[in-house]
Subunit: 369 residues, 2 copies
């Protein structure tokens, strides 16, 4: 099968790594000549947000998918119209890549998501403080999002089309990954807790399974079912959630792709998010996602004081630890905050897991030569 | 790191697949333009048994290793002399690639191995029936080996330099994989039972852990320690063993490389044989090899009545089974007896494992379009 992926970053790389156990041909499109996928797939250097480039890339493939959502959807609509399978559907990618459409989608389908106001420019802002401003397009890894807490902060408002959203009083950030097959079969991975680094606003730890009540599990199962029905598309989706201090679950946002919150599934589950997406793209039965115990993940992020040729301090010591798995992304150069890799950990209890993650965090540093 | 592998088959492919999680550059050498490694590494088309080709391939690498033992060792000696790390050592590869040297090696180091006679031509044969004739060089996957049972069979003797070896009254065929780091650190995988298909003489099932007594475990541990000391080389080695009907363990032969008997370690152990070899080549601490329960493997071998573009019958049904992992090798064409892939299985008991393996065996068939 000829599988084309828009984007050639680490998500694509780990997808192809997993997919090497099947006999498919992998094609990737990325503007960076040294993208993580470039050496392990048929690689096209080019922009995935350009109509012509995407359309030409997609022609002749059996299926076209994404590893980043900021792609030219018009080309995907055109490819779909020409008979090429596009997964997830251009419709749901379009909804998700625009924060305004995404919020309307949640409202329309009764999916609980924080109150919001849509503005086209900052003069329209009329929303109770504190709130979050999310740019309609272009947000990624914490970019394009800011918190407006006080009257004084209002001067910082970006003068662009955006969503203003109530600030949730967050108890926990959670995520659930759901796989939807072409035949409508669905499978979820266990709910994961995401512990963020407040400075970089990049996901830092994952802890799986999340420590939540049955009642909260139930709310998340309902949201997942609602989302799955509303999405009306095959694909792998990560639903990012807030659990507030009153015990209510809200959808923060959804990613129509592989997600950082699912990296520990590589060793933590009977099959990983990468295997699951392979199966969706190949249109074969979904895999079982049973947890192998407690699992967690720590991102390896470029240190704020280093740029240039990457060096991983402490990694050899980490590799001595049992049930500890280092995953690097094949990136030559680091810069502050750049995601360079991650470390997965298995443990027999939540306490052991936390101890291992915290210990590992103190052992490694992503610096430059 | 620049890692060069002689051979570009499935063993190399699965090694590189695992190694993609580190930031190394992989190079492979194989005569077949469409070798399984060709699309996922820097690929050189050429013969690994030619001095010039191997020497030129190895120059400039940080380490050179093998995924098949029938390589030109003179070039490896030369590379080593020029300062390039060769792993395993040319010395041990040379011993293992010649059955006569291999038998002498076992004898010299007191490693139990069946009685034997060395012959240069068939007229020298003077050995009690029944026995096995093993050609000195060129044997692989059951080729170059024949059983001589009767006086009448003696006419079938190959007229080449070979070893005649007592036929062991086999209770079980076993295998142990041992990893030896550059610093002498060793780690073993659990002993595995190999159940062979008598018709194709190709490994068919693996069952891990082997059902053997403590006393047999002890013999195997002793053999492994003796071999490790005698080998005097870093590397990953598979020691193939016979357990006879009296309960004594004999070394059949050793492979200085990744081995079919270790394929179930991909999902069956905390880390696989492929990860372990990556670590040896990278010269970092060895990984833990804890078993995740019972694991097994079934080879997907080309059906005897089919040649041409491969088709896998029944594979989708197999993919519905829990904790069942399909691994194909990226080979386009099948032929009778060709190893095209394998299926790994996890189970909670030996009985469940056997049932799953037998069921899966009846479900799949490797045919042609």
């Amino acid at each position: 099968m000829k599988i084309g992926i828009l984007g050639g970053g680490q998500l694509g790389r780990m997808l192809i790594q997993e997919g090497l156990k099947y006999d498919d041909e992998w094609f990737t499109l990325d503007p960076a000549a040294d993208a993580p996928c470039s050496s392990i797939s048929h690689f096209t250097q080019g922009r995935f947000d350009e109509y012509e480039t995407v359309f030409n890339f997609g022609k002749g493939k059996d299926v076209v998918s994404i590893e980043i959502e900021h792609v030219d959807v018009d080309a995907l609509f055109e490819l779909k119209a020409s008979g090429i399978r596009v997964c997830p559907s251009p419709e749901i990618i379009q909804v998700i890549q625009q924060k305004i459409l995404q919020k309307k989608f949640y409202k329309k389908h009764g999916i609980p998501s924080p109150q919001f106001q849509i503005i086209q420019n900052k003069s329209e802002a009329d929303f109770p403080l504190p709130f979050v401003q999310k740019m309609n397009t272009g947000g990624y890894d914490g970019k394009g999002v800011q918190v407006i807490r006080t009257e004084g902060d209002l001067t910082k408002l970006w003068n662009v089309s955006s969503v203003l959203e109530s600030l949730v009083d967050i108890e926990k950030e959670l995520s659930i990954i759901v796989a939807i097959g072409e035949d409508g079969e669905t499978k979820t991975f266990p709910v994961t807790e995401m512990v963020a680094d407040p400075k970089l606003n990049l996901l830092d730890f994952n802890i799986c399974p999340a420590h939540i009540s049955e009642e909260v599990e139930k709310q998340i199962a309902d949201i997942t079912a609602q989302f799955t029905k509303a999405a009306c598309s095959a694909g792998l989706f990560a639903i990012e959630l807030f659990l507030d201090k009153e015990g209510k679950v809200w959808v923060n946002e959804t990613a129509p792709r592989l997600h950082n919150s699912g990296h520990q599934t590589q060793e933590g589950n009977a099959n990983s998010q990468f295997e699951q997406l392979c199966r969706i793209l190949k249109n074969v039965p979904l895999a079982d996602t049973d947890a192998m115990g407690y699992s967690g993940m720590l991102n390896l992020v470029g240190d704020e004081n280093h740029s240039g040729k990457v060096m991983y301090e402490g990694l050899e010591e980490v590799m001595k630890l049992p049930k500890t798995y280092v995953h690097l992304y094949g990136k030559t150069n680091t810069k502050p905050g750049r995601k360079m890799g991650h470390i997965n950990v298995l443990a027999a209890s939540r306490e052991e897991l936390m101890e291992k993650l915290i210990r590992i965090k103190s052992m490694v540093k992503v610096t430059s030569v």
